[in-house]
Symmetry: D2
C-alpha cells in the first residue's frame, strides 16, 4: 500500500527512536525537562523568534495562538479555506468566543492588503473588533501553496496599520521555506507568532511548536495548561522532534516527487493535476472523488477525497521516487 | 431637524401612550401578564406561527433564536453583510459558541440554494456541523432589500435537505411584506422561526417578537431568562406593541416617501441613489460619507454613514411627504 | 387573592402610568432618550455613584457587572445561596466563562473578611484568579437579611487587599437601606458597582439600574448591547422608574407588615417564623412546603416554596395592613 | 536531591524507553496506531469499561469527560478541594460553559449521598440543572485519601436517582485500588467514566486514559480533537504507557514508604503528619510552609507548599526506602 493520504502518516526513523529511548527527561510542567527546553530553544531559533512552546498538536498550537492574541469578542481574519476556520471543530468560537471573518483568497489562498483593510472591523459598541490575522503557509486546501515573504509582509503590514497582530499557521512552514528558497525566519519577518508541525513532512511522531515573543509564549504557556496540553516527561517525544528539525532540506525530495506525481496523473485521461508548489497534489477527477479514492485503494494507493471532484495526494518521506512511479501506474490501472 | 438616521427613532403616538397608561399588567416571569400574553398571541397570528415571545430587543431575539436552534459548536449560515453577523457584538461566538459561515449574497444579499449546499458542513470529528440558516428580510445593509417568498423557500428547502432549520431575522419583515404585497405568514412558509421588531417602522417604543413552534418558544423562553430578558410587568410596554401591529399598512407611505427621496437625491450632482424597495435609501456620495453626513446635519437633515462613500437614510412615520421634500432641498443646499 | 409570592408582582400606580404616557422619549441606543438619561442620572445620585445604566432586568444587570469586572477565566466570589450563582441560569459560566467560588455565609449569608481571604485565589498557570466579589443585599434566600455597611466594608476591604473589586447585587438595596436606617450610598462606600431593581419594592413595572464609575458604565454599556439589552424609546418604561425612586421611604411599611405577618404566622401551630429584617418572611412548615403552599392558595394566599419545609412570603405595596391580617387568618384556616 | 514534590517527576525506566524505541506506530487520528489501540484496549480492561481513549494529560481527560457528559449550562458537582475545580484553570466554565457546584467533603473529601441530594439542582427556566457528579480518587488535596467502593457507590447511587452520571477523576486511581485492596474495576462499578494517569505512580512519561462506554468514548473522541489532543504517531509515547500498566502492584512500596516518611516526620518537633492512606504525606508545619520548603530544599529534599502551614510530600518509584530515611534525617537537620 502506498499511502499518500497525508504527510502525517510518516513513521519515525531509527534516529528518532534512538533519541526517544535515550532522552534526558524531567517534569515539563515544572519546566525541568531538558530535552523539551532544548527543542524549544532550537525551534525558536529555526523560525527566528524569541521563544517557543512544545504543544501536542498543531490544532492546539493554533487555538492557543488565537486565544493568546485575541480577547473574547474579538474577530479573527483568515482565509475562507483555512485549517483554523474549517478543520478545528469550531474551536475559535467554542473555546475562546472568537468570531471568524473569512476572506476569499482566490485560487492560491492569498490574503491581500486590500482584503485586510476591507475586512478589518473597528471595535465599537455594536461590533467585535479585529484581534488577529491568521495566514496559513503552505495553504493546505489550496494544494500546498507556498505564500511568499512579500505576500505575508504585505498582509501583515495592512493588519499592523490597524494594530492587529499576525499569526502564521505554518503546519507546513518548512515546505514553503524550501519551495521558495527563503529562510523560515524571513517568511516570518512580519509575523507575531507561528505554529509549525514537527509531525508532518519533518517526520516526528508527535508534536508542534508555537513560537513568538517571550511575553507571548509566557501567556501561551497558561493557555496550553487550560487546553490540557501541559505534559510531564515530554522529553521522550520531544527528542524525536529535535531530530526532525534536521529534516528540513529533505523536503525538496517530497516536492520533486510531488511534481513527478502530478505530471504523471495529469497525463491520465479523466484526471487534471496542476504542477504543485510543494508536497501536495490536488487532482480533479471526472468520477466522484469518493469513487476514485476507493478505486485506487483497491489497487494499493491511498488518497483523500477533498471535494466532490477533488482528491488530495501528499508526498512524504515514507514514499520515494519508485513508489511515486508505482503509484502512477496503479492509478492508471484503476481507471482502466 | 429631519431625522432619517433610522426608523428606530420614531416616537410612540397617543394611542400607544394611552395603551401604556391603561394596560392590564401582571408578572410576566410567572407568565401572568395578560397584555404580554395578548401581544404574544397576536404576534404569533400575524406571522403564522404557533407561538411567540416578547423580547426587549431584536438583537436578543436573534441571539436567542441562534442558541435555541443550534448547539454549541454548530455553524450558522448567514449573509456576509447580515446584522446577526456584523452588528450584534459577535454574540454568536461569545454567548453561544457558534461559528458563523458568511455567504456572499451579491448586490441584493440573497442566499441561493447553491450557496447553501456549498456552504453546508457535515458534522464530523474535525468539523462543526451546520446548525442553522439565517435570512435577513428586509436586508438592511443592502438597502432594505425585500427578499421574496420564493427566494426564502428555495434557500430554506436547500437547508432542509440537510436537516438544517431556517430562522428569519425579520427586524423589518413587514416592510418586505408590504413591498412585495405578500402576507408575512407566506414569507415565512418555510421558516422555523422569525424575529420581528415592533420598534422600527411599526413605531412601538420598545420590543421585538420571536416566533416559532410551541416547542421552540418554550426553549427560547429559558434562553430569554439566561440573557436577562425576562421582564416583570412588561404589559406596560407590550401594550403599545399591540397598537403597533395595526401599523403594518402604513409602511406603504414610508416606501413611497423613500422612492421620492431617492429620486430627489439621485437628481443631485455628486449623489447616486437607486430606487429603494422599501424604506431604506442608500446614497453613494462623491464626498466621504462622514463629511456628507456632517454637511447635511448642518442643514438640518440627519443620516447615517454606512461605508466610505455610502450613506443610509430611512423613512418612517415621524417624517411625511413634505418633510421629504424639505430634506431633498436641504441636502441640495448642503452640497452647493 | 392576597399575593405574597414576591415583591415583583406589584402593579404600577397612577403616577407611574401617567409618567409613561407623557414621557419625553428618544432613541436610547443613540443615547438620546432624555427620560432614560434623567433616570440614569437620578439613580447614580441615589446610590452615590458616578454613573448608571438602565437595564431590562436585574439578572442582566448582575451578569453585565460580572462580565465587565472579571475577565474570562476569572473567578467570582459569592455567597452560596446568592441569586447570581443560583437563579441566573448559570450565566456566569455560560455567557462569560467565569467560575463561581461560593462561600458559606451562615444563617445571615454574610461574607466575612476571613472567608474572602480564604477563598481568594491568586492567578497562576494552574488557577483562574479571583476577579470579583459579589455581595447580595438584602440577601433574598436567607430571608431578606440586611447586610450592614460595616459588614460590606469589611468584606470589600479584604477583597481590595487582593485588588479584587466588589459588586453589590442590590436587587432590594433600598430595603436594606431603610431597615438599617443607613443611606444607600453609605452601604456602597466600598463597592465598585451596584445593581438595584426598580421593579421590586419600589414598584416600577420594568427595569433595573447598574451603577458604578463612569469608566465602568461605559464598558457596561457595550456588554448591555451584547446581551441584547439596548432598548430604543426606553423612556416610556424609564419614566415610571423615575417615579419609583420616590418610593424608598414607603418600604418601611412593607417591613412593618412583614413583622406583623411573621409574628402572626409564628403563633400558628406547625409554623415557625423568625422576625424578619425587611420585607421577606421565611416560614418553616411541618408539612412539606409544596403542600402548604397549595393549602393556603385554596384559601386565597399565595406564597413561594423555598425549600422542602421552607416557604417565602413577601410584603409589598399591593398589600396593606388589613391584607396582612386577613392573610394570617386564612393561613390559620388552611391549617385547621 | 530527593525529589518528593510530586509523583509526576518519575522518569521512565529502561523497559519503557525500549518500548518507545520499538513501538509499532500509525496515524492515530485515522485510528491506525496499533500501539495506541492496544493501550486503549488494555486500559479499558484494567478499569472494567467498554472503551478507552488516550489523552495527553489528566486535565484534558477530565475536561473532555465534563464536556461529554454535561451540556452547556449544566452544573457539575464536585468536592470543593478537587483538582477539576481548583487546578484546571477554570476550564469547566471557560471551555464548556459548565458551572461548578462544590461540596464540602470534610477531612477525607468524601461526597456523601446526602450532600448529593442537597446540592442537586433540577433544571428549570431559572436554574442550570445538575449534569455530572465528579469524584476524585485518591483525593489529592486531602492527602491521597482512598475513597472506598462503598463510598463511591453511595454517592453515585444518589446521583443516579436524579439521572446524573458519575465521572471518577482517578489520576491516582490505582493508588486507591492498591491501598484498599480492591480492584480498580470494582471501585468503578457505579461510575460512568474514569480518567486515570499513566504518568504519576505508574511511571509513564506522558499520558492519561479516559474510559467509559463505547458511546461515551466515541463522543469523547470528538472533544479530544476540539481541545487539540488528537496526536499522530502517538504509539511512541503510548508504548511506555502499556508498560506502565504493569506497575500497579509496585504502588504498595510507595505507600509503605509514605507511612515510614510520615511517622519519621511526625516524630520531629514542630511537624505533625498523620499516617497516610496512599503515597501522599501532608505535614503541618509550625513555620510557614514556604519557609519550610526552602529550608529542606537547602538540605536536599524537595516538597510542595500546599497551604499556609501545610506541605505535601509524595513517594514514587524514583525514591526507595533508604532515600526516605535520608529524607527524614535531612528534614530533621533543616529544622535544627
Ligand atoms: Ca519549557
Ligand atoms: Ca489529463
Ligand atoms: Ca407569555
Ligand atoms: Ca444613557
Ligand atoms: Ca409556631
Ligand atoms: Ca483509537
Amino acid at each position: 500500500m502506498i499511502d499518500l493520504r497525508s504527510d502525517t502518516v510518516t513513521r519515525p526513523d531509527e534516529a528518532m527512536r534512538e533519541a526517544a529511548s535515550t532522552a534526558a527527561v524531567g517534569d515539563d510542567v515544572y519546566d525541568e525537562d531538558p530535552t523539551v527546553n532544548e527543542l524549544e530553544a532550537r525551534a525558536a531559533e529555526a523560525v527566528g523568534m524569541q521563544a517557543a512552546l512544545y504543544v501536542p498538536t498543531g490544532t492546539m498550537g493554533n487555538q492557543i495562538a488565537a486565544r493568546t492574541h485575541a480577547d473574547r469578542g474579538d474577530e479573527l481574519l483568515c482565509e475562507r479555506d483555512s485549517h483554523i476556520y474549517n478543520w478545528e471543530v469550531g474551536g475559535l468560537a467554542q473555546l475562546s468566543g472568537i468570531q471568524a471573518r473569512p476572506i476569499d483568497g482566490g485560487a492560491r489562498g492569498v490574503i491581500t492588503p486590500a482584503a485586510v483593510h476591507d475586512a478589518y472591523v473597528e471595535r465599537t459598541d455594536h461590533r467585535p473588533g479585529t484581534g488577529l490575522l491568521a495566514i496559513e503557509n503552505t495553504h493546505n486546501q489550496k494544494g500546498g501553496i507556498a505564500i511568499t515573504a512579500d505576500e505575508i509582509d504585505a498582509a501583515a503590514a495592512a493588519a499592523d496599520e490597524h494594530d492587529v497582530p499576525t499569526h502564521v499557521d505554518g503546519a507546513r512552514l518548512f515546505n514553503a521555506s524550501v519551495a521558495l528558497d527563503t529562510p523560515a525566519s524571513r517568511l516570518l519577518d512580519s509575523a507575531d507568532s507561528v505554529m509549525f508541525c514537527l509531525s508532518k513532512g519533518l517526520g516526528a511522531p508527535v508534536g508542534s511548536m508555537l513560537a513568538g515573543s517571550e511575553a507571548f509564549v509566557e501567556r501561551a504557556h497558561r493557555n496550553r495548561k487550560l487546553f490540557g496540553g501541559g505534559m510531564r516527561q515530554a522529553g521522550l517525544v520531544a527528542a524525536p522532534g529535535i531530530e526532525a528539525l534536521d529534516n528540513v532540506d529533505r523536503l525538496a525530495e517530497d516536492h520533486a516527487n510531488a511534481r513527478t506525481l502530478a505530471a504523471g496523473l495529469d497525463a491520465i485521461d479523466g484526471l487534471v493535476a496542476a504542477p504543485p508548489e510543494t508536497n501536495i497534489v490536488l487532482v480533479e477527477t471526472d468520477d466522484p472523488a469518493e469513487a476514485f479514492v476507493e478505486a485506487i485503494a483497491a489497487e494499493g494507493v491511498r488518497a483523500s477525497a477533498f471535494g466532490e471532484h477533488t482528491v488530495r495526494l501528499c508526498t512524504h518521506w515514507d514514499v520515494d521516487e519508485s513508489n511515486i512511479e508505482q503509484a502512477i501506474e496503479r492509478v492508471e490501472r484503476a481507471l482502466d
